[in-house]
Amino acid sequence: MKHNGIGASAGRIARAICLLALLLPVLAFASDRVPKPVIDIARPGKCVEDTATMRREHPDMLKHQRDLTMHEGIRTQKHSLKECISCHASTKTGSVLGNNGFCQSCHEYASVKIDCFNCHASKPKRIAGATP
């Protein structure tokens, strides 16, 4: 079976999750600190809403925006997944996924499956000649 990029990385992620699941009790036992997600914000500045709102409501915002975009062609940037990604992609990997990726690290911590990146690009569009 040939693996393509996502297949392979999904496999890696799956293995990482399994490993993490196996290690978690050990880690929790070894230190009294529960591992926290890595929230590595490469581009400091203000998000579209305050942090508490974003943490709680980003799924609803994204869902609301997705329906507007999909069905009514409204492509405003605030609350659009594309904008989230272009701001939050890691400066190292260029992606919001990966072990320390903005989306993945937190979702892994909360063990909430992200369905977005089956279809959506996890990296912002490369613009020729533009420095991000």
Partner: protein
Amino acid sequence: MSADTNEVLSRRGFLAISAATLGGVMLAPGVRLIEIAAARAPEQPVSRKVRWGLLIDTNKCAPGCDDCVKACATENGLKNTGHPRTDAQWIRKVELKDMRTGRTNSVPVMCQHCEEPPCVDVCPTGASFKRADGIVLVDRHICIGCRYCMMACPYKARSIVFQSISDQNPDVPRGNGCAEGCTLCVHRVDRDQQPACVEACTKAGHNAMIFGDLNDPHSEIAQRVAKYASTQIRADLQLNPGVRYQGL
């Protein structure tokens, strides 16, 4: 990135105002740029007054030329995995030969953006839907991959994705297990650009494809279909596709 989008925004804002106040800038007498007819502010929903369509002049379409197909693949991130039977094809060139007369034609075929789309009629979840402006799309958020639309589409316009994909164009999300088809480059249309195939065809000097608003009597496409004979594929099915062909 942001500079780029701001520019688009401000241009669109300006056009929206000018379209509203001046009633459109005349290009040639009676013909307006499609951008102006279409311009809407980014927060404005698509309008029912618009019906996007394509007019393909098969007399100008060269056999074997696949500029439009290549442009589509690049724009929408359709990659060749070496398995043509399972690779998605949103647009294809169909070479035709009339059995009786021997006349040949070469025609690009993509989703025909039917006014009465059977794919929408059969879709169990409502994932296949028609936008107010006539563009037929798949909402991958709710598509369950039942492939019913593929069974129902008379034009073989839909593909399903057989494997997970990576490195999508951020404007064109696509992924394993969902049905998909030509979107008329809806992400470009929403930015007041032409579909990639049309742009490529024009750029290469063939000028075989025109894109525009069939409902706007001033648009080039509406004027052309009003003046010259054009047909729809399988017009007998009465689906009233938004894609029309000349010279078939």
